[in-house]
Symmetry: C2
Amino acid sequence: MMREPLHSKEACTGSVNAVKDALYALNGKWKLPLIVTLSGSPKRFKDIQRELENITPKILSKELKELELNGFVERKVFKTTPVTVTYELTPYSSSLDKIIIELMEWGIQHRKHIISMRKNEKNQTSEVLKTLEMLDGEEVNVPV
Amino acid sequence: MMREPLHSKEACTGSVNAVKDALYALNGKWKLPLIVTLSGSPKRFKDIQRELENITPKILSKELKELELNGFVERKVFKTTPVTVTYELTPYSSSLDKIIIELMEWGIQHRKHIISMRKNEKNQTSEVLKTLEMLDGEEVNVPV
DNA sequence: GATACTACTATCCAAAAGGATACCGGTATT
DNA sequence: AATACCGGTATCCTTTTGGATAGTAGTATC
């Protein structure tokens, strides 16, 4: 299996960093669920907490700040009494749509690929079996 | 800013998981650099270690196993004396090309976006300034 | 006046990821 | 016989990430 080295070592460091930046923007346990939640409509802090069960206020606060700094979410404060704070997706957040859809499609086919790899392999190590357990459960990817 | 909720809560959990699977496959500090390294040519364990400076054998071993379990890398043992072990990308690993390129392009434009956001903002919190320090340095994304 | 709701922050803690260092069995070299 | 290279493991430690729990200031409700 040979391919063009596409990347000279020097030139490609920047590309790797760009990919890392992109991955980092979506990384962590809650960013995707948060984006999905807000894609419905703007929501208030407590509403998000209720919708994403199990997220603690500390984590929610941190994740919202990160999304805001990345320009995906705007925080709006209304001077009602008491104040109302809403979080909503920005137009810029739509720039994520394409890569999210691509990642989703790839993820779906990858699950299928892993399952078919499993069936074709006769000699499986225990690690591979661990993967397979995870396949039947929630996670697909690499085992511990 | 309103958008179609694209996702009913129930239907979309699966999609979120698919995206998470995809992100997980590329995640961690070394997977991308490893894939890039092997995209040049198959390499032996020690050769990879030399090319990716600072990776310890324990981490390299772990990462290679994960890439192998995901079907991106094939480990080949040759019965020379002493044995020679090579790692090479599989044809299946090419399925990553598209999303890697998209992530790269998005990452590049995101860096520009963040920089221009910085210039347009007058009132920056200290957290935002932290981001900006990182902009001048190596990392782009979300601050601490 | 007591309780409750909102939008958080503070402190402490656990799990996961990553790394430093040392070592192993096998072979080859001098 | 001593040293060096290969392909890793084993053990321990640090950093990062995420979470549990409690509390805060302000307002409103009963």
